[in-house]
Structures are given as structure tokens and as C-alpha cells.
Subunit: 114 residues, 2 copies
Amino acid sequence: MRSKEDILPECPVATTVSLIGSKWKLLIMRNLLVRPWRFNELQKSIEGISQKALTDALRSMEADGIVIRTAYPEVPPRVEYSLTEQGESMRPIIKSMESWGTAYKERMQEQRRR
Amino acid sequence: MRSKEDILPECPVATTVSLIGSKWKLLIMRNLLVRPWRFNELQKSIEGISQKALTDALRSMEADGIVIRTAYPEVPPRVEYSLTEQGESMRPIIKSMESWGTAYKERMQEQRRR
């Protein structure tokens, strides 16, 4: 059997991309870095995501050890998604995307004013 | 007509994701941050990318002002893709993905040794 390590790309950027390199996963990360979320909340907050796309992304992130799914035995049952320590350690990536996006929007506004 | 600014998402992370939030675009960025590349070189270097996916990604990045396509009037004609200043300013994002990927691979190797 091949271990996870064997199938990781040589390049560290490609390794990271293989784990969160998709629009939906990046937006899920952004949310989960703030606090744990419930499925329906996530779906409402991420514009355009389908139930299937969200399910697939969360399962894949769970399998990769980035996300934890916790079911609370309540009535009705409550399920929450949160980050593992490994997922939490991705904060600098999302932070750098946030800084870049903020600067980009400012440049666009600046250009518009002229 | 709606300007670029009108269609940008409220959230700065989502803005960045709308520009480079895909596996292929992130891997193209990684390459172009090193030096300008020719189309065929890029295709060979990015495992699994089809000609169509590479064309689409490059066109979209060109339209978004991240990539410049330069055609040199040689025989045979040479076409190179490079980053605009805007694209270049995304370096910290790819750097943070590189650091994370490096640390992740080290953790995986560590786990394996045990």
C-alpha cells in the first residue's frame, strides 16, 4: 500500500495545493479559521456552493486531517466542523490571501477615483 | 456596465480566491514567480494539466491583470508568459503555501519514522 507520503508531490507548493487548492476549500478554511461552523451555516455563507460540493470538500479535508467533524448527541443532533491543529497551521496562507485581497481592492478603488 | 470593482466579493479572501483560487492557477503562479515561461514548458512542468486548461487559466489571468503574454517576433515566433506587478505582489501567498507544504512533508516523514 502506498502511504500518504508517497503520493505527495515533490514540490511543497504542490503539496499544499493538493490539500486546499480549490475555490471551495479555500473559502471553507477562511470560515473555519474564525470558529467551528455547522453545515447549513457554511452553505449559506459560501455563495454559490452546492450541497454536494460542500459535502465533497469537507469529506476530503476530513480525510486529509485538516477538518474534524464533531457530532453532538442532542435532539435534534448537532454537527460541527472545525479545524485540526494541522488545519489551524494554515492560518498564514489565508492571512496572506486576505492582505493581498485588501490591497487589491484598494488599488481598484484608487483607479476608479481617477 | 459593471466595473471590475462592482463584481469583486465583499471579503478580501474571496477576492483573492476569485483571481487565483484554483489548482492550476496556483501552480502557474508558482512557476512564473521564478521567471518567464513558454507555454510548452509550463505544460510539461505542471503534471496533469491539459492544453485547454492551461490556455483557459492563462487567458483568465491575463484578463485579470496578473499575467502578461509577450510575443517575440522571431522565427519561429516565441511567446512568453510573465507576471505583472500585480501578479508579482502575490509572492507572499505562494511563499506561505511553500512553507506550509515543507513543514507538512516533514511532519509526515516524522510520523513515518515512528
